[in-house]
C-alpha cells in the first residue's frame, strides 16, 4: 500500500508508535516461546496482529489518562508505557513482576501509569473505566478514561448500563472495542445482532466510529479526535477498531479450526507493523537499516527480559496473605 500523501502525523510520533507496536509483537512472540518451553504457568492470551489499536489509542492519551485492559492485555500495557521486564516477570509469576506475581498473565497492571487493572471477566472493567471517567470529570482537569474490550464484551449488560450513565452524565469515557472478529472460537457476527457496536453507540446517544484497526495512523487520528472532544467536556464516544489476532484464542489453540487460510492471508497483507514500516521508509523517516537496528534492539531487550525473569525468584510464601486488605 503506497501512501504518497503528506504524512499526517509528526515523524517522531510515528517512530514511537512503531517502537511500541514492535515491542508488543516481540513481547507476544516471546511469551509464545516461553509458554511452549513450559517456563510460565497458566494460559497465554496473545495480541500479535492487533498492535495498532492499543498503540494508536494510547498515543492519543496523556500519562494521567487511565485505561482498563482485558484478558488479552499485554498490548494495552506496553502501549500505555509499561516496561517489558516487570511484565515478563509477572507472566512467569515472579516477585519482580508488576503485581509481585499475584496478577499473572491476564492481570498485568501498573497503576502509576494509569492502568487500572486488566480484567479476566469479559467486559468486567467497563464499570471501573466509567468510574475513572466520573472522577476525572469531578477533578475537572481534562483527564479522560479509556476502556479496552473485545467484540465479545459488547453483549455484556455492563456496556449498556455504563454507556447510559456516561451519556447521561457526559463522562469523559472512550469505549474502544477491539473487534478481532472472533469471540473465542465463534465469529462475532454469529453473536451480535445488527451492525455492531458503533451503531449501538449512536443509538445510545454518543458518537460511534469505526476504523481499520490495523492502520496505526487511522486509529490514532480517530482516537485523538474522540479523546480531545471528551477532554473538552463533550462526553463519551465509542471507537470500533477492526483487526485480527494472528494466534489462537490462547497459546495451544492454533486458531485454524474456525478460520480459513485465505482469511488469514488477507489479514496478513494488512499487517499493522509492515504498513508502519513502509510509511516510515517511504517518507524517509527511517532507513531500512534503521528499521533493522530497531528490530534487533527491541528483540534483544525482550530476550534479556526473559532471561532475567527466569532467574528472578518466586514470591516468598509469606506474601500469600499480603495485599488482601489495605
Amino acid at each position: 500500500m503506497n501512501n504518497r500523501n503528506p504524512l499526517p502525523i509528526e515523524p517522531d510520533l510515528l517512530i514511537e508508535m512503531y517502537r511500541r507496536m514492535l515491542t508488543i509483537r516481540f513481547f507476544e512472540e516471546a511469551v509464545f516461546d516461553v509458554y511452549r518451553k513450559g517456563w510460565m504457568p497458566g494460559l497465554a492470551h496473545l495480541s500479535d496482529g492487533q498492535e495498532a489499536t492499543p498503540v494508536g489509542v494510547c498515543m492519543a492519551l496523556r500519562p494521567e489518562d487511565t485505561i482498563t485492559s482485558t484478558h488479552r492485555g499485554h498490548g494495552h500495557i506496553i502501549a500505555k508505557g509499561g516496561q517489558v521486564e516487570p511484565m515478563m516477570a509477572e507472566v512467569m509469576g515472579k516477585v519482580s513482576g508488576y503485581c509481585r506475581g499475584k496478577g499473572g498473565e491476564m492481570h498485568i497492571a501498573d497503576v502509576s501509569l494509569g492502568i487500572l487493572g486488566a480484567n479476566g471477566i469479559v467486559g468486567g472493567g467497563l464499570g471501573i473505566a466509567a468510574g475513572s471517567a466520573f472522577t476525572a470529570k469531578r477533578e475537572g482537569k481534562g483527564r479522560v478514561s479509556v476502556a479496552f474490550f473485545g467484540d465479545g464484551a459488547v453483549n455484556q449488560g455492563l456496556w449498556y448500563e455504563t454507556a447510559n450513565m456516561a451519556v447521561l452524565w457526559k463522562l469523559p469515557l472512550i469505549y474502544v472495542c477491539e473487534n478481532n472478529q472472533y469471540t473465542e472460537f465463534t465469529h462475532w457476527k454469529k453473536l451480535t445482532a445488527g451492525e455492531g457496536l458503533a451503531t449501538r453507540a449512536r443509538a445510545m446517544g454518543m458518537p460511534g466510529v469505526e476504523v481499520d484497526g490495523n492502520d496505526i495512523v487511522a486509529v490514532y487520528q480517530a482516537a485523538r479526535e474522540l479523546v480531545e472532544a471528551a477532554r473538552c467536556g463533550e462526553g463519551p464516544a465509542t471507537l470500533v477498531c477492526h483487526t485480527i489476532r494472528y494466534g489462537g484464542h490462547h497459546v495451544g489453540d492454533p486458531g485454524t479450526a474456525y478460520r480459513t487460510k485465505e482469511e488469514m492471508e488477507e489479514w496478513r497483507k494488512k499487517d499493522p507493523i509492515q504498513r508502519c514500516e513502509r510509511l516510515l521508509v517511504e517518507n524517509g523517516i527511517l532507513s531500512p537499516q534503521e528499521i533493522e537496528a530497531t528490530r534487533t534492539e527491541i528483540d534483544q531487550r525482550i530476550q534479556n527480559a526473559v532471561q532475567q525473569a527466569r532467574q528472578d525468584p518466586f514470591p516468598p510464601i509469606e506474601e500469600v496473605h499480603e495485599h488482601v486488605y489495605a
Partner: protein, 332 residues
C-alpha cells in the same frame, strides 16, 4: 456526653451527613437516594444539603453503578452505592466479588478500593421472596471484603463512619425492619466504632447467645424472658463479620459453657455455621453441650405472615435452643 434518641434510619443518615461534610471525596449513589431522600429515608435532606453532584440518583443499573463506584474508589474518591433491597445485590455480584474484592491483591498492593456498599436485609414485612433476604454471609465468604451488621443506632452510626474512612471495600448491611422501629441513644459528640470489636449487649453467666443485626433485639427479648425463669443469658453482638472478634465470643463461651447462635440469614452454610466452628475450636474444653444454631429456614422467604414468621428466628426458637443447651449440659 449528651445523647439523644435516634431511630436506626436517623443514625445512618447522620453518619452519612457528617462524613459528606468531613470528606469531599465521599459521594452517595443509588436509586432515589437523591431528590426523593431514599425509599427508607436514610438519605433525607442530603441532596438538598450537598447537591446533585454528591448525592446522585442513578438509573436502575445495579451492576453499572456499583461497577462505576469501584472505578471511582480506585481513582481516589470514596463512593457509597446503596442497594435499596439487598436482594438486588445479586445483579452487582461480579463487580463486588470479582472486581472490588480482589483489585488490591491482583495488583500486588498497587491500589486500594475504598467503597462502602450499603444494602438492606431482613424479612418480616410480607415483601415476598425477592425483597426479604439477608445475604451478608455471602460477602463474609469473600476475601478482600469487610462486612458490618450493626444492631443499634449507636453501632450503626459509629460503624458507618468507620467504614467511610476504611481504605477497603465494606459491605454495610442494614436491617430494614429496624429503620424506624428501633430507637436508641446516640451521643451528640462525634465517635467511631472500630471494626472487629464485638459488643456484649447483656451480661450473663449461664449461656451465651450470639446474635447480629436485628436478631440482637430478638435475642435480648429472649434473654429477658429467660431471666424470669432464672436463666442468665449473655448476649454478644459481633457487629462485624469480617473482621471477626473471635476472642470475645470464645471467652464468653468459656465462661458460660454453652452457645446459641442466632442469625436471620439462612442456616445451611451460613453465619451460624462459621461462628459455631470458631467457638467449637476456641472453647472446646469448656462446652457442656452441642452448640445450637437458630437461623432462617432454608426456604425462599414466604409471603404469608404465619409462614414468614415461622421462617425467621423469633424469641421462642431462641428460648427453646437455650433450653436444649442447658439440658444437654452434663451433670456437674
Amino acid at each position: 456526653m449528651s445523647t439523644r434518641e435516634l431511630t436506626f434510619a436517623q443514625a445512618i443518615r447522620e453518619a452519612l451527613d457528617e462524613e459528606l461534610a468531613r470528606d469531599e471525596r465521599v459521594v452517595l449513589f443509588g436509586e432515589d437516594v437523591g431528590a426523593w431522600g431514599g425509599v427508607f429515608r436514610t438519605t433525607e435532606g442530603l441532596y438538598e444539603k450537598y447537591g446533585p453532584e454528591r448525592v446522585i440518583d442513578t438509573p436502575l443499573s445495579e451492576e453499572g453503578y456499583v461497577g462505576l463506584a469501584v472505578g471511582i474508589a480506585m481513582t481516589g474518591m470514596h463512593p457509597v452505592p446503596e442497594i435499596m433491597f439487598g436482594d438486588f445485590i445479586t445483579l452487582a455480584m461480579d463487580q463486588i466479588v470479582n472486581q472490588a474484592a480482589k483489585m488490591r491483591y491482583m495488583t500486588g498492593g498497587q491500589v486500594a478500593v475504598p467503597i462502602t456498599i450499603r444494602a438492606t436485609m431482613g424479612g418480616g414485612r410480607s415483601s415476598g421472596a425477592q425483597h426479604s433476604q439477608s445475604w451478608h454471609a455471602w460477602f463474609a465468604h469473600v476475601p478482600g471484603l469487610k462486612v458490618a451488621v450493626p444492631a443499634t443506632p449507636y453501632d450503626a452510626k459509629g460503624l458507618l463512619k468507620s467504614a467511610l474512612r476504611d481504605p477497603n471495600p465494606v459491605l454495610f448491611f442494614e436491617d430494614k425492619v429496624m429503620y424506624h422501629k428501633i430507637k436508641g441513644p446516640v451521643p451528640e459528640e462525634e465517635y467511631l466504632i472500630p471494626f472487629g470489636v464485638a459488643d456484649i449487649k447483656r451480661q450473663g453467666g449461664d449461656v451465651t447467645i450470639v446474635a447480629l443485626s436485628r436478631m440482637v433485639h430478638t435475642a435480648l427479648a429472649a434473654a429477658e424472658k429467660l431471666a424470669q425463669e432464672g436463666i442468665s443469658a449473655e448476649v454478644i453482638d459481633p457487629r462485624t463479620l469480617t473482621p471477626l472478634d473471635e476472642e470475645t465470643l470464645i471467652q464468653s463461651v468459656c465462661k458460660t459453657g454453652g452457645a446459641v447462635i442466632v442469625d436471620e440469614g439462612y442456616t445451611r452454610f451460613g453465619v451460624t455455621a462459621e461462628l459455631a466452628a470458631v467457638i467449637a475450636k476456641g472453647a472446646f474444653d469448656y462446652l457442656d453441650a452441642p452448640i445450637e444454631r437458630v437461623a432462617a429456614f432454608d426456604v425462599p422467604i414466604p409471603f404469608s405472615p404465619p409462614l414468614e414468621f415461622a421462617t425467621i428466628p423469633d424469641e421462642e426458637r431462641i428460648i427453646q435452643a437455650v433450653h436444649r443447651v442447658l439440658e444437654g449440659r452434663r451433670p456437674q
